[in-house]
């Protein structure tokens, strides 16, 4: 066997070292990419906190929820019941929906059913025309940050008038209202309640022949970007909406119960990544429930 020169052996050793170095480099690059991806995915939905556009609904004051609540499901009527003493009873539910906690919400509806109707709401309702397959923009008077107060004081950009004025112009067959989320944080409920009632009063005056239906404010998910919105407060305000509807002879739709889990959180399958807005199919649940109710 011929003797291999020492220089050749050294060269081969060097080559092996370089190869090992290359392999290590490739491994490090691949590993760092994986780490970046995992960091990215773990931060999904963890967008910075917001405010909510504290609107001009009320000047100041903190909305505190004093009553702890036991979130018990009931077979009918409002699913979540506060332990606070409440004057409301289920007997006022003659014109409210009747959802059973845990039932799988229907997503079937007939779009033509809503052709003469008007939907008034905040950013959540803009999804009714942003997502394909639901309503036309003309059927929706909604804007990012809209509150009950702004619905009769602020012009909606794509309408050129306030929501109430738009309703008066259109004279819809039915009016569906879902407002309040933007005024839940940093405002006291009395001011919000006052403006909500005022909105209903103005709409009833502007559209005397319309069938008006108020929709409950929806909850936030377990993981959400809105630390200032407390689902206890949401339920409290929904009770107010329901009792007001009962008092004024209007319909009430308890969407909250339909899309929340047993602890009252927005079900992830219906919630957008921010934990408050809607995924596309959530509008199908809403329209299905409204058609059933009306």
């Amino acid at each position: 066997m011929p003797k291999i020169p020492r220089s050749i052996i050294v060269m081969y050793i060097l080559m092996i070292i370089v190869l090992l170095g290359l392999c290590t480099g490739v491994f490090i690059v691949l590993f760092s990419n994986v780490s970046d991806d995992s960091k990215k995915s773990s931060s999904t939905g963890s967008y910075p906190l917001i405010d909510t556009s504290s609107s001009s609904v009320s000047s100041s004051g903190s909305a505190t929820t004093t009553g702890s609540s036991t979130e018990t499901g009931s077979s009918s009527d409002v699913v979540f019941t506060s332990t606070e003493s409440s004057t409301e009873t289920s007997s006022e539910s003659s014109s409210s929906t009747d959802f059973v906690s845990g039932e799988t919400p229907s997503e079937s509806f007939d779009l033509s059913f809503f052709s003469d109707d008007l939907f008034i709401g905040d950013s959540i309702f803009t999804g009714l025309y942003l997502y394909p397959g639901y309503l036309d923009m003309e059927q929706v008077a909604a804007a990012v940050g809209l509150t009950p107060y702004k619905a009769y004081t602020s012009v909606i950009e794509n309408k050129g008038v306030t929501a109430v004025e738009y309703a008066k112009q259109r004279q819809p067959k039915r009016i569906f209202i879902m407002l309040g989320s933007n005024a839940m944080a940093g405002t006291d409920h009395s001011s919000l309640e006052e403006s909500y009632r005022e909105l209903l009063s103005r709409l009833m005056g502007a559209c005397p022949n319309a069938d008006i239906c108020c929709i409950s404010i929806t909850p936030t998910a377990r993981r959400n970007d809105y630390p200032n919105i407390d689902n206890n407060e949401v339920r409290k305000f929904n009770k107010y909406i329901k009792s007001t509807c009962s008092e004024l002879g209007l319909k009430y739709c308890d969407l909250y119960s339909l899309i929340s889990d047993e602890d009252g959180y927005f079900l992830d399958e219906y919630a957008e990544v921010d934990g408050m807005h809607f995924k596309g199919k959530t509008y199908a649940v809403l329209l299905s429930a409204l058609q059933k109710l009306m």
């Binding site: 020169p5 220089s7 050749i8 060269m11 081969y12 060097l14 080559m15 370089v18 190869l19 290359l22 490739v26 690059v29 990215k40 931060s43 999904t44 967008y47 910075p48 906190l49 917001i50 405010d51 909510t52 556009s53 950013s123 959540i124 803009t126 999804g127 942003l130 997502y131 394909p132 923009m137 990012v144 940050g145 950009e157 794509n158 957008e272 990544v273 921010d274 408050m276 807005h277 809607f278 995924k279 596309g280």
Partner: protein, 162 residues
């Protein structure tokens, strides 16, 4: 003589290996990205971006809504793909328009600038913490093609859409 020849061959092998190793990884990435971004259609670029950056629920803007959201007529563009946030929870959106001519491309750029300004106005009060996406947004005009993005990684969006 044999020793010298073997040494030279081995040295050449080592150097070649080092050179190829480093240049291969770098140049292949560059060529891949340049080929992919230059040859993809507007829709393909949009789909690539959707897979590359974290977005909320996005919906494609249909031809009948181009006018509503941008004031752009369908026949102004030869090809386009635009996505907006369906839930309105966040200001995320992006688009690529291939205009029919240079004048129309300039018109589209102005429309997109107006749109971004409107988003800025809306979200500055509503979600100030999302404003970094708008502040960092871009509009690019290359010939008759206009593209823009408002998202969590506008640099990556630019590298895909441009």
């Amino acid at each position: 003589m044999k020793k010298v020849l073997l040494s030279v061959i081995t040295a050449a092998l080592v150097c070649g290996l080092c050179g190829c190793g480093s240049s291969t990884s770098g140049s292949s990435n560059n060529s891949t990205s340049s080929v992919s971004t230059s040859t993809l259609s507007a829709k393909e670029k949009a789909e690539k971006l959707l897979g590359a950056v974290e977005f909320p629920s996005m919906v494609e803007v249909t031809a009948d809504k181009l006018d509503i959201y941008f004031g752009i007529a369908e026949n102004d563009v030869k090809e386009y793909s635009v996505y907006i946030c369906g839930s309105a929870a966040m200001p995320d959106e992006f688009g690529i328009f291939v205009a029919k001519d240079a004048d129309t491309a300039a018109k589209i750029k102005t429309a997109v600038e107006k749109r971004i300004e409107a988003q800025k106005k809306t979200y500055s009060d509503y979600k100030p913490d999302e404003m970094y996406k708008i502040d960092d947004s871009f509009i690019d005009v290359n010939g008759n093609t206009v593209c823009y993005a408002i998202c969590a990684d506008n640099a990556k969006a630019a590298s895909i859409l441009k």
